[in-house]
């Protein structure tokens, strides 16, 4: 197994295959469950068609987005647990299992469903270790989904990772491609703290080179995906690629933007951002989460507090508005940040 902590967190040359993000997540789960028999996974439709083995039905769905396909066939229904539609019960149960010797993964189908089980994260997973004076570790991972752009309206489209970053005791990661998905998921499962793993629905089909061997990427570290000198653009999850698209557009105008892929939303790699901003003197955060009390506002505040004297323009953001996600394409297209909005905002900062 390789730990690529000293690498720039880009796929190494050679020894890789092109994998979809969905496949990389699936591969990480399978490899880690083979390596460590204390790893269990539970959730809704993890296998699908549960309890109908006598009819020859196994793994009917393999996950609502096919990220858990094949697990039940290899690891059986003791370690791969389809649950009733009871998020509070199974998320809480996974936390209880994690605090008594398992490494428990629970899948919340969409982050919007967090309302019915937030108490388990807020008051149990996040606080047990502290309240108990360090007597317990909670190696729990919650896989969940974020992302608008699919006409799924307000209850299946949010990107509310900032809700979790606000809670001391939780960690959070937002992989941006297949490579980071595999490395961060393996790191998350092996971590002794509760980690929320945010899968963007719009990244599942994207491919990139992924090593077949197991590797972990460090939690809490950002990566630079495009070097530049004039402006720092921070992207999170899919917005990293919106930022890259905008940077390429800006390059045509002679503006050389550096793009940082944040990857972790708790802890946040402020220093990576600050190092860049101290060189470029300008900051633009592109975030699919809403703008009030968010990761984007937090990064701007941090940069204002710690790099005020370096700034040649106000720390700025491109985000959705402070509204729920609208259904109609006509509105959803306006809601989502896009390269055009990033380019326009960047031009203002450079003026």
């Amino acid at each position: 197994m390789t730990t690529l902590t000293e690498t720039p967190m880009l796929p190494p040359p050679g020894e890789t295959r092109e994998l979809q993000t969905r496949e990389a997540i699936n591969e990480a789960l399978i490899q880690e469950m083979r390596r460590d028999e204390t790893v269990i996974i539970m959730g809704e439709e993890i296998a699908g068609g549960a309890g109908r083995e006598h009819l020859g039905i196994v793994d009917a769905w393999g996950g609502a987005f096919r990220t858990t396909r094949g697990l039940i066939q290899e690891f059986g229904n003791e370690r791969v647990l389809d649950t009733p539609l009871s998020e509070a019960a199974f998320v809480g149960t996974a936390i209880g299992a994690a605090s008594t010797g398992m490494r428990a993964v629970a899948e919340l189908m969409f982050v919007d469903f967090i309302g019915v089980c937030m108490d388990q994260l807020l008051n149990n997973a996040a606080k047990m270790r502290y309240m108990f004076g360090g007597q317990v570790k909670v190696p729990f991972v919650m896989l969940t989904r974020i992302g608008a752009g699919f006409g799924s309206a307000a209850q299946h489209s949010e990107s509310f990772y900032s809700l979790f970053s606000h809670i001391p005791g939780l960690k959070g990661v937002c992989p941006s491609d297949a490579y980071t998905a595999k490395g961060l998921l393996l790191a998350a499962i092996r971590d002794d703290d509760p980690v929320i793993f945010f899968e963007h629905k719009g990244l599942y089909g994207d491919t990139c080179p992924v090593p077949e061997e197991m590797y972990t990427l460090p939690l809490g570290k950002a990566r630079t995906v495009r070097p530049g000198a004039d402006l720092t653009i921070v992207g999170i999850s899919k917005m990293t690629w919106v930022a890259v698209e905008a940077a390429e557009e800006l390059a045509k105008e002679g503006i050389n933007a550096e793009v940082i892929d944040l990857l972790s939303v708790s802890p946040i790699d402020y220093d990576h951002v600050l190092d860049s901003v101290r060189r470029t003197h300008r900051l633009l955060v592109v975030d699919e989460d809403t703008p009030v009390c968010s990761i984007s506002s937090d990064i701007c505040a941090r940069v204002a507090e710690e790099a005020f004297d370096y700034l040649d323009a106000p720390p700025s953001r491109v985000t959705p508005p402070h509204t729920p996600v609208p259904y109609s394409r006509a509105l959803e297209n306006i809601y989502l940040p896009n390269a055009e909005r990033v380019v326009n905002t960047a031009r203002r900062l450079m003026a």
Binding site: A89, G92, I95, G96, T100, N123, Q135, P267, A301
Partner: protein
């Protein structure tokens, strides 16, 4: 049910230890300025005692905000508990949890819990661990009549039944959810009636009679240990004091009602029973255990007061297994 003398002695010792811990520890904690977070379980001693007598350190329990009795019955050291109540570093939680979060993983004690029905899924998770790893352990999820109406409890009873987990859902029905009488908030006559919805046995017992609790809990625990799945055990009991020390319960219940329940005091009931049984255990032996519990609490208060306060830097410790401290204090302009 015929019980051997050692078991009887153990049951009484646990009850009187709980009683003395509450009667001494709650006001002592109040004198140290932290009474807001402390809930006395005086009157309810028979329930944790009768249930936990069937458990070993390897078994698990999840507890409630009124959980001192659960801790003691599960074997947590009262001296350490007192230190925890006083916010001292020798508490099992290093003074960071207090009354509502006392945990001792070495005793299978998954914590008292400040969220109503909050520890229920943790106990279910512990039962899942036991089942997957074939450990033969059981878990008990304690909750109150208030917790009986929490959604997560119902989800957990359904899940535990579907997965046939070795867990006992134990409702301590003390008649009041804060000031709200149980008959107002409960849609059925008894919490145990709800067992039918989840295809598990429901037991309804007199929670003032430790022998009745012991017998029913024994059956529920045996079933669970044998792999026959969960059970719901409701013990009807009474808390003598208010919800907290700030609560005067006579604003919502009568003196007559209190007197009625106090006349059925679990320690007194046990004592009378022993006498009626021809002094299997003598009054002198019971008196001796009471005195030992009193002395133990004297020692516990002395121990707790002598325990050091947590150091300022400990505020950052045990938030995570691994997380940069700098990220916890960054931007907060902390003094440490």
């Amino acid at each position: 049910m015929e019980l051997d003398r050692d078991t009887l002695l153990k049951l009484y010792r646990t009850m009187t230890t709980i009683r003395h811990f509450e009667e001494r520890g709650v006001p002592e904690t109040g004198q140290r300025g932290m009474s807001a977070s402390v809930h006395s379980s005086v009157g309810q001693e028979a329930v944790p005692t009768g249930v936990c007598a069937h458990l070993s350190d390897d078994d698990y329990i999840g507890s409630t905000h009124r959980g001192h009795g659960h801790c003691i019955a599960k074997g947590v050291d009262p001296k350490l508990m007192m230190a925890e109540l006083f916010g001292r570093s020798h508490g099992p939680n290093k003074g960071k949890g207090g009354s509502m979060h006392i945990a001792d993983m070495s005793k299978g004690m998954l914590g008292t819990n400040g969220i109503v029905a909050g520890s229920v899924p943790l106990a279910v998770g512990a039962a899942l661990t036991s089942k997957i790893r074939k450990l033969g352990r059981v878990a008990v999820a304690f909750f109150g009549d208030g917790g009986a109406n929490q959604g997560v409890l119902h989800e957990c009873m359904n899940l535990a039944s579907v997965w046939k987990l070795p867990v006992i859902f134990c409702c301590e029905n003390n008649g009041y959810a804060e000031s709200t009488p149980v008959e107002y908030g409960l849609s059925v006559a008894n919490v145990s009636d709800r067992a039918a919805s989840y295809d598990m046995p429901g037991f309804h017992v007199d929670g003032m009679d430790v022998l009745a609790v012991f017998e029913a809990a024994g059956e529920a625990v045996s079933r669970a240990r044998a792999g026959d799945g969960p059970a719901l055990l409701e013990a009807r009991t009474y808390r003598y004091y208010g919800h907290t020390v700030f609560d005067n319960p006579l604003t919502y219940r009568t003196k007559e009602e209190e007197d009625h329940w106090r006349a059925r005091d679990p320690l007194l009931t046990f004592r009378n029973h022993m006498v009626a049984q021809g002094n299997v255990i003598t009054a002198e032996e019971l008196d001796q255990m009471d005195e030992e519990a009193r002395v133990l609490m004297e020692e516990a208060v002395t121990f707790a007061d002598a325990s050091p306060l947590p150091e300022p830097h400990e505020i950052y410790e045990d938030v995570y297994a691994d997380y940069p401290v700098e990220m916890m204090r960054r931007g907060a302009n902390m003094p440490v």
